[in-house]
């Protein structure tokens, strides 16, 4: 298990992200990992050099709420997860609807 990581259920994601915001953190990265038939979403927040992670495990057809209301720059990572992994994310502030990655090969890849 990654250090400083909290595994949470999807329905508590926004509350947990709000805690990170209140704590003065910023989004460092968000990524998806395919584990078997499920996806692990890893949200990384940083405050100066102190890094914290939130991990959520979801099924492929799960809809994930966007965190862009709390962290504006998250839209890039959420669009990336959608384009490369096919994760459905609801309410992205700048939703490119699959247009962030213009690849000749059809995506998602994983």
């Amino acid at each position: 298990m990654l250090d400083n990581t909290e595994e949470i259920a999807l329905d508590t994601l926004l509350n947990k992200v709000k805690e990170m915001k209140t704590d003065g953190r910023r989004v460092m990265q968000i990524c998806a990992t395919k584990i078997g038939e499920q996806y692990e979403l890893l949200y990384t927040f940083v405050k100066e050099y102190d890094t914290r992670h939130i991990k959520v495990t979801i099924d492929p057809d799960t809809h994930v709420p966007s965190i862009t209301d709390l962290f504006e720059n998250a839209y890039l990572y959420e669009n990336e997860m959608h384009d490369l992994f096919g994760i459905s994310i609801d309410g992205i502030s700048h939703d490119y609807k699959g247009g962030l990655y213009r690849t000749a090969v059809e995506s998602p890849f994983a």
């Binding site: 990992t33 395919k34 050099y49 990655y101």
Partner: protein, 360 residues
Amino acid sequence: MKGNRSVIPFGPQHPVLPEPIHIDLVVEDEKVVEAIPSIGFVHRGLESLVTKKDFGEMVYVAERICGICSFGHGYGYVNAIEHLMSIEPTDRAKYIRTILFELSRMHSHILWLGLMADAFGFESLFMETWKYREKILDMLEAATGGRVIFSIIRIGGLRKDVPDDVLRGFLPELEKVEEGIRACEKAFMSDPAVLGRLKGVGYISKEDAIRLGCEGPFLRGSGVAIDNRTRGYAAYSKVDYDIITSEDGDSYGRCYVRIQEIYQSADIIRQCIENIPGEGIYVPVKGFPNGEYMTVIEQPRGGACYYVHASGKKFIERMRVRTPTFANVPALAQMLKGCDVADVPILVVTVDPCISCTER
């Protein structure tokens, strides 16, 4: 057309872009009101290759994420694997890694100075700066045998040693580079024509830089003192340096930070060469990595994360590389809002975009 708005496509091919990125510029007359980026033209799927390449071979794939900061990408991946396998490289390997890191930073920043000069049409300044970049590439070649991809780093240390006399030979070369950059600095920092293209252009406040997740000189150029080298990886805990910032927040501030970091890198290299220990460069590696780890390092363009998820097998399950240019895209899109169409090329270059890094 929507009302008096129209869309101007910028890229993927454009004279200021060495690599392809596309931005739809929504404009009203000559003002940009929205910038919509799209990437993917050089997406190679390097992260997913980790599931098909031996974890030791993957170092060479990681290096190929980008030709400018290739050493850092190799290091980021190697450092994560070394943590998972509880490998502590020798001090000599750490010092040599730090020297190569800082040569890469000098190379990257000087390359940016040249591209910036080219973008605002100062061609002789562009050629002058790149003259000194060649000297850095010569040093990298003397140390590693490569000028772009070095393949010197491996899990457990280094593939080959860099002899002390080669390292000492860097000292007079560094002085020449610093002297040359000082001459160029006058043009970048005080030439009226250059100031007209840099001062007050592409302003990002300290609060916006934090809110939009900026990294590297883009962040420090807005007055935020964050430099991941202070985390102490490689030999950074054993050298003295201060974090360089600028309160300007504009293209001028970012230019200032990069120029000062060139001198700083030369100083760090000198400290490393003076204090380098004389022991081995490699610790044998046994077994396979297991677990998860995230390394955060300071690449020339800013903080970069390398997340590795391994399960005790030859092949790793996931490698995630969050590069600084990718993190800087939201701030770039924000910065372009409200600017003149004529300033877009300069503003894109001021971020120091690396599209190979962004797309992986």
